[in-house]
Symmetry: C4
Subunit: 209 residues, 4 copies
């Protein structure tokens, strides 16, 4: 860290540490997801058929892993884009960011739930609500940063707007999908979540230069 | 890292690395908490009622998760505020900070304990003592930094004072609550811990500009 | 972080955060591997013979740990070398890097699989395919960075070329070894994976100054 | 990151990333230790006596946790001190550092082993050998850095010497203790490991200014 003359202390480690903590926690959430992907204990002499059967029984968990990894990735990219425009930190930003991290850290729990009991409505609801809460907390952190003047004044208007709507594709699609729950099978509801991909892609495309 | 002329080595990576290690460990402690939030193995054909019952049996663990996440967050914010005022590091600071981290890393253990056996006095005591120990170690690290001249001389007096008392709201409330243990139910004792929130809020408000 | 004059915000935190996230995730993937190395629950009064037997039954998992640790290390060093030559980041790089990280985060799963069921062809295939996918995603991220002009123009031609072929030693050896699977024992196939070491060493030697 | 003029790329991210990866992995190794500290599944209606008995049965694991946390802390401080004097990185340093990290990442395994089967000679041997291997790998990385000219020429002679001997207190005491194994109880052997504390303290004291 180049010193600024007198002290060899970084000028705004406050902002940097919020980012260190966030990147660390995102990295762990992404990695902890896989702990649930386990072949159940088989007899040591288990043959090829038994292992293959155990593996294909894992497929719903692989789907859950891929889905959660993708959504956490979107949230990380949204966080990354927002913090490129944030130039100062205060305690409020630290707390609202910790609220977002609390929901990100929770994600392995509903992921395991839909991996094991994805055919049950309550699992689908808990998954949709937890992941949406993370998206809404991300939105709240951006609104907070704007309101308290932490965002650089040089930020282009369209990036400020897209910083707000970016992560909202997940709560919109997921909470919307819950309206189908009384009428459709849980698998159909989960299938609608794939709409997050084109929606996110459209947003990314519109904003990227 | 901008070089300072001759060497391209950062000037005070010593201080930065204490922060890297701390942020990494805090992030992991926050995330590991959720590993205990697990639906028990149910029969594959488990119906909606069984899953719902298993989930509501998890509610004490969700409370334990939220409580520990909140307190670790307070400790991280306290650490973050203190290290904004610390401008140099020495080996003593590294060790006293590792003592703090040892208690932070322990927190998932008493969290699981009150999540599973929160109705038993010994669980409540172990939780209160471990989390208070982390708060006291944080206080000790601040006193150490002040005594050995690691804190910037430009630090405002009130920030120096609040840096000391900040994390102490947790040990004061928690150790105090243990005095109720012979007279009150464990749930009442745990309920008094919510006093940490207003106490912390008062401190934060008094100090923030 | 030395300010660049007006704002105290780092100039290109975008690139740095991709690196923070990657280093965090690599560190966790390397550490999570060991969670599978566990002595099974033995009776408390278990004698020396029982513990020794349990430990020698773990030897295939120790081999799996060492193999995966080595390959993830190669991938980290390849990532480290490539990002020394990348001087800017964009959203595309963030996503292609997350694809690589998705496969790195998966590695503990096939590692546990060959540690427990390394005598079964399907385990060998899943291990080889997952670890090769990580190598190919690393290659793709380098091609992407080159095509979109993120690599410094000052990068020596031979480093650009070696940046491409570097991680490919793993997919070439591993996918090639699968051709032996119909004819040879799974252990022989796994033994051929040791060829990655001399191949990687040759590449490293040719490139290092 | 202050730009160096033309490119906004950090000048020596190579060295920094070795440190990021190391700090991340040390932080995780310190935190993963606690996963083994678990109260066994008790009946939901378990009374105070049962929980207290389960907790006191955990005491050997608490000792193992404290011991491993302390030794990993020493290794981290040794790493921290050494890298303050290292001003450049090359691929060899990355690899020798990864060898050290491989042993650090392994430590939770022998820690669980002596926590559960600390009364058996083979557990004591595996613990002593693994933790000593980490100390020796740290020594090797320092010798490598000195030999290949990565250490700053301005490094005081006594710091260079102490950088070499620093982490060796652990292997000297631990491997030495194994000589007692045929004659003494495993608990006595483990008790001799406490000698690491005064030895380390003497070294630290002699070197600190």
């Amino acid at each position: 860290m180049a010193g600024t003359g007198v002290a060899d202390h970084p000028a705004d480690l406050g902002l940097e540490r919020i980012i260190f903590l966030s990147d660390g926690l995102f990295a762990i959430a992404l990695t902890v997801l896989v702990i649930d992907l386990r072949v159940p204990e088989l007899p040591t002499a288990a043959g090829s058929d038994q292992v293959a059967a155990a593996l294909s029984a894992l497929l719903p968990r692989v789907f859950a892993y891929a889905l959660s990894f993708t959504i956490i990735s979107f949230y990380w990219v949204a966080h990354w884009r927002r913090f490129k425009l944030i130039e100062r930190a205060n305690a409020g930003l630290a707390y609202v960011n910790l609220l977002l991290l609390a929901f990100i850290a929770l994600i392995p729990f509903p992921t395991a739930l839909i991996g094991e009991h994805g055919d049950i409505a309550i699992s689908v609801m808990i998954y949709a609500v937890t992941l949406s809460a993370a998206g809404i907390a991300g939105f709240a952190s951006w609104v907070y940063a704007l309101r308290t003047g932490l965002v650089t004044v040089a930020a282009p208007k369209d990036l400020v707007r897209s910083g707000a709507i970016r992560g909202l594709s997940v709560p919109v699609v997921m909470l919307g999908s819950l309206l189908l729950l009384p009428f459709a099978s849980t698998y159909l509801v989960e299938a609608t979540w794939l709409l997050i991909l084109p929606v996110q892609w459209l947003i990314t495309r519109r904003v990227s230069r």
